[in-house]
């Protein structure tokens, strides 16, 4: 009960801030002030998933800027599909492993990895290579396949999504790091940071049946937001997404985007994919709701080629 009250209060505060942004255009207000970095976004190209993360996070002020000593961290990759890593429907396991290693180096007490998978969870965890990679880095790979792990939260400001059941570890951890992979998506055009949240909720059918784009944006209103988004653009499904059928659907882009603003991150990722961000409805809705910045020109972006 107390937790819910806390969330409600925080949400109200968040709403107020959001409203202020919408009216006054103080976009910067919402950007978390974590880290000593002067950059809003760091984009790296040309390295391996691990080396690109090492470099990128350093430019953002190091993992310590996001993860404190003794904190519990939720690392949320995309582990939705029962496919091998080369087919890129899931986040690159080496990247996930590297993120976890950095969290522990920064003093994290515990790192949890989970996703409410779409295919059979035992197979997706295993065949994506993420379970093994995450465990070898010392993380706890946690099931998310049963409703019993989910608790109802409220999103009063949500337009269509006012309630959702979210995984208990989203509520119980101190830091939430979003590690999506950018992919083509048959319906929403792109799956990336914002859409990756769908793996933290139980009833996705409701989203699909009640204006998917609006629900994706609504959920981004929820108080517990990722402190950091690590967008895997190493191998990218450019068609037949989000699952992909064959290797022909995948293009090697050898890139990585790190940002605290997931709307900005998704905007950049969409351009990597060759999509027009303005045509991705959930992005424009989220932008209008003040959940992040789509105007990349106004951001301080560090671009690195390795």
């Amino acid at each position: 009960m107390k937790r819910r009250d806390f969330f409600n209060k925080s949400l109200q505060a968040g709403m107020a801030a959001g409203a202020a942004v919408a009216v006054g255009g103080y976009e910067k207000l919402l950007l978390p002030s974590y880290g000593a970095s002067k950059y809003d976004m760091v984009a790296v190209m040309g390295g391996g998933p691990e080396s690109m993360f090492d470099l990128g996070i350093q430019e953002l002020g190091g993992t310590g800027a996001f993860v404190g000593k003794g904190q519990k961290v939720l690392v949320k990759p995309n582990i939705g599909w029962d496919v091998i890593p080369e087919l890129a429907a899931n986040t690159n396991p080496m990247l996930v492993k590297r993120v976890i290693e950095h969290c522990f180096k920064a003093g994290a007490k515990e790192v949890y990895v989970l996703d409410h998978s779409i295919d059979n969870w035992l197979n997706t965890y295993k065949n994506s290579g993420i379970e093994r990679a995450a465990k070898s880095a010392g993380a706890k790979v946690v099931p998310a396949n049963s409703e019993s792990y989910y608790h109802e939260i409220e999103i009063p400001a949500g337009v269509r999504l006012k309630k959702a059941k979210v995984h208990e570890l989203l509520l119980e951890t101190d830091v939430y790091i979003n590690v999506p992979v950018v992919k083509d998506h048959n319906s929403t055009r792109m799956s990336c940071s914002l859409k990756n949240s769908m793996g933290l909720v139980w009833d996705r059918g409701f989203w699909h049946a009640n204006n998917l784009h609006q629900c994706i944006a609504d959920f981004a209103l929820f108080e517990k937001k990722p402190l950091l988004n690590v967008i895997d653009c190493y191998n990218v499904i450019v068609k037949h997404g989000p699952r992909g059928v064959s290797k022909e659907d995948v293009v090697m882009m050898k890139s990585l985007i790190l940002t605290t603003d997931w709307v900005a991150g998704d905007t950049a990722a969409a351009m990597m994919l060759g999509a027009d961000p303005e045509k991705i409805d959930y992005l424009t809705i989220a932008y209008k709701m003040g959940l992040g910045n789509m105007k990349l020109d106004s951001l301080n972006i560090r671009r690195i080629k390795m």
Partner: protein, 519 residues
């Protein structure tokens, strides 16, 4: 041999078989490799026989081993290898704890008419109509259903309970598994049998095995001429009757030094209980009962068995005559045919060979296999059917085809399974969210592993599903994911005869590896 070691040996083997079979059926973490499961179930009589009829390979020769074993050693199958028989022994022991009378058996007359009648009916029905009686009475299948319907849910509840505790200690090795029953009708037969067999074994030992079980009766006929058997040493016996009292099969008539070998399941309890060591297990020297063998009966059984083998070739010839599906693409979620699991070849073939042991149902990691109620007609009751409202068939999974002990589901290598079309997708545009709500969805296409369901431009920025039945394999993921109620906007109509789907065509993408950041 008069050693008490015989009984201990029996208990050891029986416990091993029982535990392994039980684990096979409740392995909810999918830890036991399929090869091992095939090994465990190799000697199960009816599944092996059915598989042999189908395949005619030595890989399915388990039943021949059982027949030879029976000819040599008597009905050891019933005591050593039959999971239902072993389960009854355990229950009988329990009965003895409740009331000592339940474990004091004594000699009783055989239920000759009932048991041979049931065997004959089973054979006749099987030959003329189909597998129904075998499904109903096969002890292995009955055991499988007991575990799947009653024991596994309890194990899952226990798992969930322990998991809840472990999670408090930050241990995530177990995961919560939703315990979900089947449709009520499917419980009718298992409940009746649970009650019947439970009561019989609790109070009367092996009465079920010696009155109803057709496998028991059949092996009983063979064991009449078995080489090794239990016999009396008249000189040593002082007619205390302990052997008869301890005989679960009630087949020892100690007053006339007679043991009904057709009912004896070689449990060796009598040998252990005889204080004078007057009973022993060994070669029968004086074939005194040989004259009593009913040759007519034996010929009848042999003939029936031959016929039984004959049906397989008949079934094969009928395969080609099965009608092709009628296409009613506008029918609202009204399936013209149920979807039967991959490896079944055709619904007809499947219905003929499946004994509803439920192993595939309990082994399916996606819970898509469910006991049927009326999908296959009342005679196909409890045979597994794909229920796409409960789950979908994982693209990368072929467990059911590999695990099936009767070969009702033929083994399919993964690559073949991925092209086995068990049904075809049908899209009902008028039900679709994109049309009715004018909002984006795409849940069906998103989950489609072959992109037989794909999205095409619709009004404005929207896209709407379209289907390509040629590459659809009928996995049902689209139907499962479709959020519309009460009717789905997309569903799978079963193929009465399974077909081969075309491979999805892939073309190189226009997007290439970038040199610069596009932003």
């Amino acid at each position: 041999m008069t050693s008490p070691f015989l009984r201990r040996f029996r208990i050891f083997i029986a416990a091993l078989v029982f535990i392994l079979t039980l684990l096979t059926f409740i392995d909810f973490r999918y830890l036991i490799p399929v090869k091992f499961i095939n090994g465990v179930l190799f000697l199960q009589f009816v599944p092996s026989l059915l598989k042999f009829i189908n395949l005619k390979t030595l890989a399915a020769s388990g039943f021949i081993v059982v027949i030879i074993l029976t000819l040599l050693t008597g009905r050891t199958y019933c005591s050593f290898l039959c999971p239902l028989g072993i389960g009854q022994d355990i229950n009988s022991r329990l009965g003895g704890r409740i009331k000592r009378k339940f474990r004091r058996f004594g000699f009783k007359k055989p239920h000759t008419i009932i048991r041979y009648g049931l065997l004959a009916i089973t054979l006749i029905v099987t030959i003329i109509w189909g597998i129904y009686m075998v499904s109903l009475l096969d002890p292995y299948s009955i055991f499988g259903r007991f575990v799947t319907y009653f024991i596994k849910p309890l194990v899952l509840l226990l798992n969930n309970f322990v998991e809840k505790i472990l999670i408090r200690f930050n241990i995530f090795t177990l995961s919560n598994i939703r315990v979900e029953g089947f449709r009520l009708m499917t419980y009718a037969i298992p409940v009746v049998f649970l009650f019947l067999i439970g009561l019989f074994s609790l109070t009367r030992g092996r009465l079920y095995c010696n009155m109803i079980c057709p496998v028991g009766t059949l092996l009983g006929l063979l064991s009449k001429i078995s080489l090794l058997r239990i016999r009396f040493d008249k000189d040593k016996c002082d007619r205390c009757g302990r052997c008869s009292l301890s005989c679960k099969s009630s087949c020892i008539d100690f007053l006339s030094y007679n043991i009904d070998n057709s009912r004896c399941v070689e449990c060796f309890n009598c040998i252990t209980n005889c204080p004078e060591k007057a009973l022993s297990y060994g070669f029968q020297m004086h074939q005194s009962r040989e004259e009593e063998t009913d040759h007519g009966k034996r010929e009848f059984i042999t003939g029936s068995l031959m016929l039984f083998f004959g049906i397989s070739s008949r079934a094969k010839s009928q395969e080609k005559k099965t009608p092709l599906p009628v296409k009613h693409s506008t029918v609202k979620e009204s399936k013209t045919f149920p979807v039967c699991p991959p490896g079944a070849r055709s619904i007809e073939e499947f219905n003929k060979n499946c004994t509803a042991c439920s192993l595939c149902i309990t082994a399916c990691p996606d819970n898509v296999l469910r006991p049927s109620v009326r999908e296959y007609g009342i005679m196909g009751l409890m045979q597994p059917v794909m229920d796409y409202h409960k789950g979908f068939c994982s693209y990368n999974c072929n467990i059911c085809t590999e695990i099936c002990p009767t070969n009702a589901l033929m083994p399919l290598v993964l690559e073949a399974k991925k092209l086995t079309q068990i049904g075809k997708v049908i899209f009902i545009k008028d039900n679709c969210i994109v049309k009715t709500e004018k909002t984006a969805c795409g849940a069906c296409s998103e989950s489609c592993p072959t992109k037989a369901v794909f999205m095409v431009p619709y009004e404005g920025n929207l896209v709407i599903p379209e289907t390509n039945q040629d590459i659809c394999i009928g996995c049902g993921h689209c139907e499962y994911a479709c959020p519309t109620t009460p009717y789905k906007a997309i569903y799978i109509d079963g193929n009465p005869v399974h077909q081969v789907a075309s491979k999805p065509v892939s073309t190189e993408s226009e997007i290439t590896t970038p040199e610069e950041f596009p932003f």
